[in-house]
Amino acid sequence: MVNYLIRRIFQMTIVLFFSAVASYALLNLAPGGPLSFLGSVQTRLNSEDIARIRAYFELDLYLPYRFTRWLAGIPNGPLTIGGNAYFANNIVGCRQPIEESFLNESGTYVTRTIGCKEGQYVTMADLVGRKTSKGIIRGDLGVSWQMLRDRPVTMLITSRLPRTLQLMSLAYLCSILIGVPIGVYAAVKQYSKFDYVVTSFAFFGTSMPTFFFGLLMILFFGILCKNWGLPYLPPGNAEAIKPYVIPLIGNVDPGSLLDKVLHLIMPVSVLAMVTIAGWSRFIRTSMLEVLRQDYVRTARAKGLVEKVVIAKHALRNALIPFITLVVFTLPGLFAGAIITETVFNWPGMGRLYFDALSRTDYPVAMALILITALLTVIATLLSDVLYTWADPRIRLS
């Protein structure tokens, strides 16, 4: 087991490294990029202006160097050993590349960088004194480009993370507490009315988009209920801005427990609703499989009470594949839910990630991607380990 874990952790590191390389390359090669805003600035920019702006985003360095600087904070100047500087003239980038446009096979023009204007190369020596992070592997996530300009990415993450954890964990908890019993009951009473209702509900939940449920709830429980003078729910935010009155309940102060709970109800229900739909379906299927197995029949034949059969023999085995599914909520706990957070204006990580990508704030996006990737590989490992723990027939090799 220890051997297995060591090997897996080693593999995980490699996967993570490749994932970081690929994600970094993807972000940097995707169209758009941090310079897009220049297209809308109605002023004249000369090549020096553009070079200066490129340098702010480190775009004057070649991609591999940008990557290593982001990953480990190197190179940050010539290699100094014993007072001698090495590689000082090593070229690491170009301030003003020369671009060439050429016709490709399909008849469209493609622009390619073909060289660098004379005297505009960036050498190792030029890197001395540049602002740089210590590198993400040393725990420095760098500074934000667009969302909180020049201030640490950690500031953004710490301001959003607690809210997302709160929302997601509550939603997943509700989903397990409701989804598992529903699924089990539907399996036990297969082809009963209850089963049909649950199945229809589940497919309705997966067929309709999240925004539908979210906006419908806001419209009904938020706006209409308030207009009718009924008790209503606040349409969004995590906390109120000013005190408000809810009929039958009374005054609610911003920041109080009641206020927080009221704000949680709608987003948690929407998230849970969609998750329950899928999970109850999953549980029902694996429960049905198990109920048909011979050992369940044997247990029944031995004269055990049906409840005991289900709870002790069937459920445990039916939950094995479900564990995998639940473990994979780990990255979701951190990453949040983009649509639900946007619809309910929940200041969480999902929105942060989406904003970072759409506003090309790559340091923020990369930090989130890498942390999510780390949690994903951990979840994979965890699910494999849990599998063996729950089902002794599976051996880890």
Binding site: V15, S19, A22, G107, F203, T206, P209, L215, P321, I394
Partner: protein
């Protein structure tokens, strides 16, 4: 309990050896399936949906792209300026909802069904091979899957879409497929290239979860006595995978497929937002659904119009899947 498994085994071997047996087994399965009333009912409903999709041009006097500025959001049953009936009303541009829904059925069903079929096949092959053989292959495949799961989808899709936008006329798509899709979906051959690419991209992005699922099932199945017995009797790995593992793992795959189908229909809409896939004004259930978002406060029932067919299709496919599984399971008496 292992005795039962052996019996099961024996039956399979016999089936493979004697052709007439197999035919009769197929008959048995069909007969068992037709006893499943809900599955049969679902099959009829799905058949009707497909029939409507095929006969779309006959079922509406409107073209799905025919617009009339000013007659936006007419209620169901109202009439257009020239007196034709809007069965389900109109959308924001005065286009007939019913016409759009039935024309969209062709595209949405084709895209979702073929993408899901590809995904399930890839999932079954990769999952069972990697789960059954284990060792280096398993490690490489599973780490690759893990790697792909960590890659952020949005930037990846942006790159793919920009590549496709820039080179869409240069991507070689077999003429046969192109023309077939164009005829099938009643769209321009140029757009059918996009549909083809869309299916490929959807499948390319969706196969990971299914292969992990399949691998998990295979892992637990391969330790079961009937597999070990089969191995002991000298069956080849390929044979064991095809005759024992795949049929036994079908149930979770069918569930995953019927859930995934709705996902693909909706996913398709978000891809058309990124500039590839099927673009407005050509209707799909997905893009009709996402277009309703900003009108939710005024017309909250709108998403139901395009959501209902998605719901109907996934539900019926699931019931059919249920029926199939029951029919295939020899332990169940029907």
């Amino acid at each position: 309990m292992s005795i039962a498994k052996f019996k099961d085994m024996g039956l399979d071997v016999a089936a493979a050896e004697a052709m007439p047996e197999e035919v009769s087994q197929f008959k048995v399965v069909t007969r068992r399936f037709f006893r499943h009333k809900l599955a049969v009912g679902s099959m009829i409903v799905l058949g009707v949906v497909i029939l409507i999709a095929i006969c779309a041009p006959l079922l509406s006097s409107f073209s799905p792209t025919e617009l009339e500025v000013g007659s936006d959001f007419l209620s169901p049953g109202s009439r257009s300026e020239d007196g034709r009936l809007h069965l389900l009303g109109t959308d924001a541009l005065g286009r007939d909802y019913w016409a759009r829904i039935i024309y969209a059925a062709r595209i949405s069903l084709t895209v979702a069904l073929s993408a899901q079929l590809i995904v399930s096949c890839i999932g079954i092959i990769i999952g069972s091979v990697s789960g059954y053989t284990g060792g280096v292959i398993d490690i490489i495949v599973m780490r690759a899957v893990e790697f792909l799961l960590t890659i952020p989808a949005l930037p990846l899709l942006l790159i793919i879409s920009s590549l496709i936008i820039q080179n869409q006329d240069a991507i070689p798509v077999p003429e046969l497929i192109k023309n077939f899709l164009a005829k099938l979906l009643l769209i321009q051959p140029r757009d059918s290239v996009q549909v083809f690419l869309l299916i490929v991209v959807l499948a390319g992005l969706g196969w990971m979860a299914d292969s992990r699922l399949m691998r998990g099932v295979v892992l637990s199945l391969k330790e079961q006595p009937f597999v070990e017995a089969s191995k002991a009797m000298g069956a080849s790995s390929a044979r064991i995978i095809i005759t024992h593992l795949v049929p036994n793992a079908l149930a979770p795959m069918i569930v995953s497929a019927s859930l995934g189908l709705a996902g693909f229909i909706i996913y398709e809409a978000s891809l058309s937002f990124l500039g590839f896939g099927i673009q407005d004004p050509t209707p799909t259930w997905g893009n009709m659904l996402s277009a309703t978002q900003s009108y939710m406060f005024q017309h909250p029932w709108l998403p139901l119009v395009s959501g209902t067919p998605i719901f109907l299709c996934t539900l019926t496919i699931n019931f059919i899947g249920d029926g199939l599984r029951d029919a295939l399971d020899p332990r169940l008496k029907l």
